[in-house]
């Protein structure tokens, strides 16, 4: 498990649903074919209305035309991030686009489980206010051991919530590694 995650922030609002994360028309590509799955990176967050794409200004592309990887590596979300469908294509597309962590006020539970059990990235929660403190493009550092998120652009530090019941799965890497570690499979 990576202890330090650094990268630039892409800031989103409340209730970002999985249709915004990856619109349903794109759910036809293979998630196992290395070339075909790049399509998921290409269309990641393509359903987010322009006004909310990269706050506070909006109208910021997450992935540029012709690319499948994003220049941003940490997503900042509001409440109920990942609500809606159970499509694992949602955390998968963000991972394919290069996302290493999400920090949000809260998550919809299926998205949260999928992120952890599939080992895509760690979905962090914080009680601190995110939206006014972080701007799209800010340089961030997440320190896992310290449970802190530092905005290098402003110097401000926010406290991350403990991972709770999923911590052992996160440490193992995914649900299969956890089950192997505990002798279940």
């Amino acid at each position: 498990m990576k202890q330090i995650i650094t990268g630039r922030a892409y800031v989103l609002g409340d209730d970002i649903d999985t249709d915004q994360i990856i619109p349903a028309e794109h759910l036809v590509y293979s998630l196992s074919d290395p070339e075909e799955k790049k399509n998921y990176g290409k269309f990641a967050l393509s359903g987010v209305p322009k006004i909310g794409a990269g706050l506070p200004e909006g109208n910021k592309l997450f992935v540029h035309e012709g690319k499948f990887e994003s220049e941003y590596t940490i997503i900042i979300g509001g409440k109920n991030f990942g609500c809606g469908s159970s499509r694992e294509h949602a955390p998968a597309c963000l991972k394919i686009a290069g996302i290493q962590a999400i920090v949000a006020k809260s998550y919809a539970r299926i998205f949260y489980r999928n992120s952890v059990d599939g080992g895509f990235f760690i979905p962090f929660e914080t009680l601190d206010k995110l939206l006014n403190n972080i701007t799209t493009g800010d340089s961030l550092t997440i320190n896992l051991e310290a449970g802190k998120l530092t905005n290098n652009s402003s110097g401000q530090t926010l406290k991350l919530q403990p991972l709770g019941e999923v911590v052992e799965i996160v440490k193992a890497g995914n649900i299969f590694e956890y089950a192997r570690k505990t002798g279940m499979i």
């Binding site: 209730d15 036809v28 409440k79 109920n80 539970r109």
Partner: protein, 432 residues
């Protein structure tokens, strides 16, 4: 201290006498359901993790129902059906409802019920968030992703954090113009799209128990729109009558104890309910239908697991009988069984299908169709700035295809009444 239905079912499947909300347990799975959108990804993770010659934990407990992207020329979508077919044949799975055959059913949540896979007291996981629909049968059911489904395919087990239960009780009698869709939109509007996050939504009260199984499914279907882990309605005679016609497998019914612990309880007066819509772009953006009568629509869409069952179409036919629609109106039965009902069942001497055709509606084949947009050639999909009144379950930006279109979620009564006037219309204007 007593237990709720959900706690009792989870305890029984974890080999425990009782469970406490917040506790993490491993449960034995009775049914795993997957479909064409998430099946291929699930299968590839299963093979990667358990080996390419691995066998599923129990072929009797795996149900595969292609339903999302069926009538399309999209080559990737069609390739995904081939992947399902190959897996079913390699694993010798008895419950596969293949496209293009007599076995084809349509929308998985309704097909599960109609084919006898929903049984009280059981634990069912599905790779679709609306798997919570099956809770209408007094069982535990919830949506999961490909990884969790692959884990179940290999082990027959999954971890669950025991949810707290919220109880919504409706006492008395609903007015004739009120449908389950109005009730779930009312409740989501009251508690918000994350108002039940990781909690059980338990439905109770004589008004709820007077609902048909179809209406109960509509109520449970949209629990996920409030963030619910699952929804549940205790099994009664109505449930058993439906289930016993469709399966010979044994099952067990559970009831919540009087002294069960609830996180939240609310009682509504059923007779005071009014028709409601969810305005764009969120299922909790509630308004009374009568407050929206100046909103013009371009399209009415009646279909999906939420609003494409026999009782939904009977309601719509009541309104559309002998009249002409004013806007494009799409009729999409959830399953082939529902389609047969449209062809055979009558209202005042006419089949429902003829009532819709004579009203000028367009009829689609059984599938998820435009509920979630889908490939460009999907029946009923939006492509521009259409304003749609729809019996489906989600109105997120772009959900029905175009990011510029606007979707109002409503009951089949409201969708049909609005189809006749071209504006959002309270069904009371038509039913009196």
């Amino acid at each position: 201290m007593g237990l709720t239905i959900t706690e009792k079912i989870l305890a029984a499947h974890a080999g425990k006498d009782k469970v406490i909300p917040g506790e993490t347990i491993w449960v034995d799975v009775d049914v795993l359901m997957t479909h064409d959108v998430c099946g291929p990804g699930t299968i590839s993770i299963f093979k990667e993790q358990f080996g390419k010659n691995a066998k599923v934990f129990d072929p009797e407990k795996v149900v595969i129902i292609p339903d999302h992207y069926i009538f399309t020329s999209d080559k990737h979508a069609n390739r995904n059906i081939d992947i399902l077919r190959e897996f079913v044949s390699e694993q010798n799975l008895p419950y596969y409802y293949d496209v293009g055959t007599e076995n084809y059913k349509g929308v998985c949540h309704i097909a599960l019920a109609q084919e006898g896979h929903n049984r009280p007291g059981e634990v069912l996981f599905g790779t679709d968030s609306h798997t919570c629909t099956s809770g209408a049968f007094g069982m535990f059911s919830t949506g999961i992703g490909n990884t969790d489904a692959a884990f179940i395919l290999g082990t027959g087990k999954l971890w669950v954090k025991v949810p707290e239960t919220m109880q919504f009780e409706f006492t008395g009698k609903f007015p004739d113009y009120i449908m389950a869709k109005d009730i779930i939109l009312q409740v989501i509007g009251d508690i918000g799209v994350d108002g039940a996050t990781y909690r059980t939504m338990e439905w109770a009260g004589d008004a709820i128990m007077n609902f048909s199984m179809e209406e109960r499914m509509t109520l449970c279907n949209m629990a996920i729109e409030a963030g619910g882990k699952n929804a549940v309605i205790e099994a009664d005679e109505v449930t058993l009558k439906y289930v016993n016609k469709r399966t010979n497998k044994p099952y067990k019914t559970y009831h919540s104890d009087q002294a069960a612990n609830y996180f939240f309880k609310k009682t509504y007066n059923a007779s005071a309910m009014e028709p409601v819509v969810a305005k764009p772009h969120s299922p909790d953006n509630k308004a009374l239908v009568r407050e929206c009568s100046d909103i013009k629509i371009d399209r009415s869409y009646i279909g999906s697991c939420t609003g494409g069952k026999y009782t939904d179409f009977l309601a719509a036919a009541n309104i559309l009988y002998g009249k002409k629609v004013a806007v494009n109106t799409f009729i999409v039965p959830a399953t082939t069984e529902v389609f047969k009902d449209l062809e055979c069942k009558t209202l005042n001497g006419k089949t429902l299908l003829n009532i819709f055709k004579e009203a000028g509606c367009e009829i689609g084949d059984a599938s998820c169709a435009a509920c979630l947009g889908g490939p460009k050639d999907t029946f009923g999909r939006t492509h521009g700035t259409e304003v749609v009144v729809s019996t489906t379950n989600r109105n997120f930006p772009g959900r029905m295809g175009s990011k510029q279109s606007e979707v109002y979620l409503a009951s089949p009564y409201t969708a049909a009444a609005s189809a006749l006037t071209g504006r959002i219309t309270d069904p009371r204007e038509m039913l009196n």
